[in-house]
C-alpha cells in the first residue's frame, strides 16, 4: 500500500510538471562513454564540458569542446602525483577551478588555459576545500570549506 501511494505521489508530481522532454545528445554521449571507464563531476560552460574521466585506473581533468566533441589540451593541469577531487569551468572555458589532493594535502587551484598555468588559491582562514564553482567570467569563485567540523562556503574574487 505504501508503494502504491509513493508511485501515485510521483505520478501526481510528474502530471504537474512540464511535458516537454530534454533530448539526449546520443552521439556525444556515446563518445563520452567510449573514451573512459567512468566519468564524473560534470561542469558545463557555454560550449565546454569539463569532467573527471578515469582511464587506466587514474582520473584526469578533461575539457571537451561541445561544438566538435573533441578534448582540448590542458598542459600543466594533470599532475601524475595529484588526485583531482572536484572542478568547475568558467562560462567562457578560459579558467578551471580544481580541488586536488597531493601528499595528503587537499588544496584549491585555478588553471588559466591561455597561460597553461596552475595557481594555488590559499584559504583564509585555513580549511579543507571540497566542492567548487566559478561564475561565467571565472573572476568569482565559491568553494565549500571544512573548518572545525563545519562546512562553510567562501566567496573569493579573483584578478
Amino acid at each position: 500500500m505504501k508503494m502504491v501511494s509513493l508511485s501515485l505521489g510521483v505520478l501526481l508530481f510528474l502530471a504537474g510538471c512540464s511535458s516537454d522532454r530534454p533530448r539526449p545528445r546520443s552521439e556525444l554521449n556515446g563518445l563520452l562513454r567510449q573514451s573512459v571507464s567512468s566519468r564524473r563531476d560534470p561542469s558545463l560552460g557555454q560550449i565546454w564540458l569539463a569532467s573527471l574521466g578515469k582511464r587506466g585506473g587514474r582520473e584526469r581533468i578533461e575539457l571537451i569542446d561541445l561544438r566538435n566533441r573533441r578534448p582540448v589540451p590542458l598542459p600543466g593541469l594533470n599532475r601524475a602525483d595529484a588526485q583531482p577531487i572536484s572542478l568547475s569551468v568558467s562560462g567562457d572555458g578560459a579558467r578551471i577551478a580544481v580541488v586536488q589532493q597531493r601528499d595528503d594535502r587537499t588544496e584549491l587551484f585555478l588553471y588559466r588555459r591561455n597561460a597553461g598555468a596552475l595557481q594555488r588559491i590559499p584559504l583564509d582562514p585555513p580549511g579543507v576545500p571540497r566542492s567548487v564553482s566559478l561564475d561565467g567570467s571565472g573572476r568569482l569563485l565559491a568553494v565549500e570549506v571544512s573548518r572545525n567540523g563545519r562546512w562553510d562556503v567562501d566567496l573569493i574574487r579573483l584578478p
Binding site: 510528474l14 522532454r21 533530448r23 567548487v132 564553482s133 565549500e144 562546512w151 562553510d152
Partner: protein, 156 residues
Amino acid sequence: MERASGGLLATSQQDPALSGNGKWLAVISDLRGRQTVQLRNVINGSIQALPQLKRHQPHSSPSLSWNGRYIALITQHGRRRMAVIADRLNGRLHPIQLPGGRDPIQVSLAPDAQTLALQVTDQGLWRVEIFDLSDVLEIDRPAGQALSTPPLTPAP
C-alpha cells in the same frame, strides 16, 4: 584577491553554485535536519524563496543559469532520486526522466540553460550524459547581449 567569508548563515553550507553573472549563489543548507537548497543574492545577502522546491528533500548538486532564472538540482521523490529544473520566472518545474533505472548523482546546467550534463550511475559505473534543452527552456542570456539577426540588406 578579495574574499567574503562564508558562514553568513548559522547553518552548515555545502555544494555551492554561482550563476553565470555572479549575482546568485545556491547552497545546500541543513534546515531542521533536511538538506535544502537556498538561493542567496551575493550582493546584499538576501535569501530568495524557492516555493516550487520547498519539498522533496534531500536536495543536492544545485546549478544555476546565467541570470539565475533556472536552478537545476537533484531531489528525492519517494524512493526515486530525480533531477529537476525549476524556472523562477514562471514557477514551472521540469523533471528530467532517465530511462533504465539509472540514478542521477550530479547535475550541471550550461549558463544559457540550453544544455544539461548529468552524472548518473549505470551498472555500478559513473557516466556523464548530455541533454539538449532547447525545446524545453528559453535561453537565459547575459543582459544586453545582442541577438543574432540576419544582416540588413539595402532596400532595392
